[in-house]
Amino acid sequence: MKPVESNKTMTPPILRVHNLSVGYSSASNKVTPVLHSVSLEVAPQSIVGIVGESGCGKSTFALATVGWRAPKLVYLGGKVDVDGFNLLAAKPSVLRRYWGGRLAYVPQEVSTALNPSRRLGAQLDEPLILHTRMSRATRKRWILDFLAKVHIEADDNLLSRYPFELSGGQQQRVALAMVMMCEPDILVLDEPTAGIDATTRVDVIAALRESLRGKKTAVIYISHDLTEIASIADQVVVMYAGEIVERGPAFSVFASPRHPYSAALLASTPSVRDARMVQGIPGRPPGRIITDRCSFAERCSFVRNACIEGSPSLLPVAPDYEVRCVRASEIEIDLRRFCERQGLQQHIRSENPPLLELSGLNCVYRSGGTVIHAVKDVSLVVGRGEKLSIVGESGSGKSTLLHAIAGLHPPSGGTMFFQGRRLPGWSRQRHVDQHRLVQLVFQNPGRSLNPRHTVARILESPIRLFRPDIPRADRYLTASALLEKVQLSPTLLGRFPYQLSGGEKQRVALARAFAANPKILLLDEVVSALDVSVQAAMLQLVHSYSFETGASVLFVTHDLAVARVISDRIAVLQKGQICEMADAETLFLRPTHPYTITLLNSVLSRNSREGCQDGPKRGELT
């Protein structure tokens, strides 16, 4: 699909959001504002991408643009005009005629949005019955037509299935077909690819492009993933603390951001083109509206006195380009330099003496009579101080492999050697040093931290087990030192996990692993659930720990860009087997296995809008 920037100035906008302010009311009837005076115009046939960290008001904005009256959501002022009709002044009974017809919204978790106990055919039929006067036969043809557009081979068999019988990517595409069927004027997509792996993500985005072709629909596309926004949007809106801080054409914003926040987001996003280290943004979004100074001031590297003396307003810096920063004009060049990240990669070759050797490892799952081979004949060597990434789609056996090394899933065949000594399959049979030196960090810190333990207790467990030299009374102090090591305040010691943000939880999980002074860190998708800014900070932590202590890292991820940033070598896992293993540079420049090439091609890249749809294009990745 061609970008439609050219005719945007001619067509009048279909959606006008004017000075919109929104808040949430709490139990004590106090209203906390979360959006402050947001204005935005969207023309038909254009795609506006909205980016920002979690808690910046993106999802609330999305709900407001379709006039949604969520419980506890309070509209504090402003207008949302669709074709001259103010959605916020209308009654919900009137709006119901618009919702699903002219206004379409796809929520973040599609798997929970599709009714699990109704067949797909009936669910897809519903919006058509409500909003059109088609006959039964026409409706069916229409449904099959739209399913074909989102690349789903549709037949009666599919229509009689339940949502759980589809994969995550398929569910997402069915939801897309469902909202596109009524040919909406405005389509709002809230993180449509969150939690889907790279190859599936490409399918969903291709399906979106296909179904928008030739339609007048204006799209608002929300994502925390900058590369994804860059690959699909015409215009980009960067949100921070409930305000728009930068708005402009996608190409310009990503080529040279004018707001320090946008620049910091870019600097924290890993890229497959670039092996250099990412930079996190210190602190986290304030989670409220700040009106007396620049809301980003306390995290900004370019802060001056002028920034904290008053709140900056959104000012045009170029045609159709606005920035909320008092220093926007002076720091343009500095920002560009800021985005060109400092390299601190030091490559360690596999000549290092081996630390961990796996040979012919097999792992199976047994359920009932069937045996599933999760890991098949995997042999690999991790050198001392080496950072090895294992990439692959979900279900490729990556996590099982790590669990086997950690002693949680005894292999059915093959051997493991650690520091030249045999590593028993069962955790129980291992020596305390083997427990200590091999440390596993799980994907979801919400599940790996005991909800009933305080941070102090979580960190004291490994100290108690592995550091008998530290007397009981000093464990608390050691735990607080560990928190500082992962850049968290020791005041968090008394908190429970539910009182921490996702990034803080994962840092605590990392601190728990650091407590043991391990020789090898097994990291299972540790950054996949985090915002880019937090993800970058985590990667920096892992990198500096490995650099300072000489520890090896075995990093499992589905994100090739992350793998490129963190690793010296990369192994590609497909259906439980290693299909390619090479130095990070070599793998990205000269992939040899067809599956690796497929994976690399499924990576969205900032500068290629169409790259992911065509066949292999190796040159593009260099």
């Binding site: 909800p451 005041t491 010691l493």
Partner: protein, 289 residues
């Protein structure tokens, strides 16, 4: 910088007390049980007459200044019997349910955590015991061993242990695949440390609900036995026994019959309220994300 302090035992105690009385329900429950406990402990010292001595007053007399709740058919002072008769109502079920929890809890948690053949075997054995009617067991055992207190405790513990074991087995099974349990296994914690440190704190809510419910069932169960004339034998005083003794007195002396009934009811309601309140507090605490 905020000074870092390790929580003291006192601050933990304060937190627990706050947990119990987090809701109005909890405070009412606390009050009701408190009142009962005061009666059990102080009551016997306040009783104006000997509870088992007959003929301290005229037979079946209505309340008067010398007998505040009147007298029963044998001329015993009802107030004195009431003040003496509460302790067994609470303490026998308490001992019985605690014993049932020790046995059933250990079996259930072991079978849930270890799983495999052992776990299944234990679970099936427990299933076999479930259809046996508790009252029948009680009648047979009391007929053979008599109605001493320890027999009552043993009967209730034996009847409830399998039921408790099943609940705990299910709760533990859900948690064994949680990643924080895996993390503990991977760092080589002992099984005891995993069960007590990682698992039990997370099944506290269902555990307490179960404890409260079982305690209530046990109070009613033992009271039913007493009412039927099993267990505590006359002339010793006991609220349930008093209810059955005073049924004939209701028309002439309703207060004398009501006192033990109110005592029983307030105890059962109080336990319910307190446990409900605590459960709600515990589930609120983890659901706040």
């Amino acid at each position: 910088m905020v000074p870092i302090q390790r929580p003291t035992p006192f601050s933990i105690l304060l937190r627990v007390a706050r947990q119990f009385t987090a809701t109005i329900q909890g405070r009412i429950g606390f009050l009701l049980i408190g009142m009962n406990v005061v009666i059990f402990v102080v009551g016997p010292y306040l009783a104006p007459y000997d509870p088992i001595e007959t003929g301290v007053g005229p037979s079946a007399e209505a309340p008067s200044p010398s007998h505040l709740l009147g007298t029963d058919t044998l001329g015993r002072d009802i107030l004195s019997r009431f003040l003496h008769g509460g302790a067994t109502i609470l303490f026998v079920p308490l001992a019985a349910v605690t014993l049932a929890f020790l046995i059933g809890g250990a079996l259930g948690m072991a079978s849930g955590y270890i799983g495999g053949l052992f776990g299944n075997l234990v679970a099936r054995l427990l299933d076999v015991t479930l259809p046996i009617p508790p009252l029948l067991v009680a009648l047979v055992v009391i007929a053979r061993f008599g109605g001493q207190l320890w027999v009552m405790v043993a009967i209730v513990a034996a009847v409830y242990a399998p039921r408790i074991a099943r609940i705990l087995r299910a709760a533990v099974q859900n948690l064994t695949t949680m990643e924080y349990v895996l993390a503990a296994e991977a760092r080589g914690e002992s099984q005891t440390a995993i069960i007590f440190g990682e698992i039990i704190p997370n099944i506290l809510a269902p555990l307490l609900v179960e404890y409260g419910m079982r305690l209530n069932f046990a109070v009613s169960f033992i009271s039913s036995l007493n009412f039927l004339g099993l267990g505590v034998q006359p002339p010793s005083s006991n609220w349930a026994l008093m209810v059955s003794e005073s049924t004939t007195l209701i028309p002439t002396n309703p207060a004398g019959a009501l006192a033990p009934m109110l005592g029983l009811t307030s105890l059962v309601v109080g336990i319910n309220f307190l446990m409900d309140s605590l459960t709600q507090y515990l589930s609120d605490e983890t659901s706040r994300v």
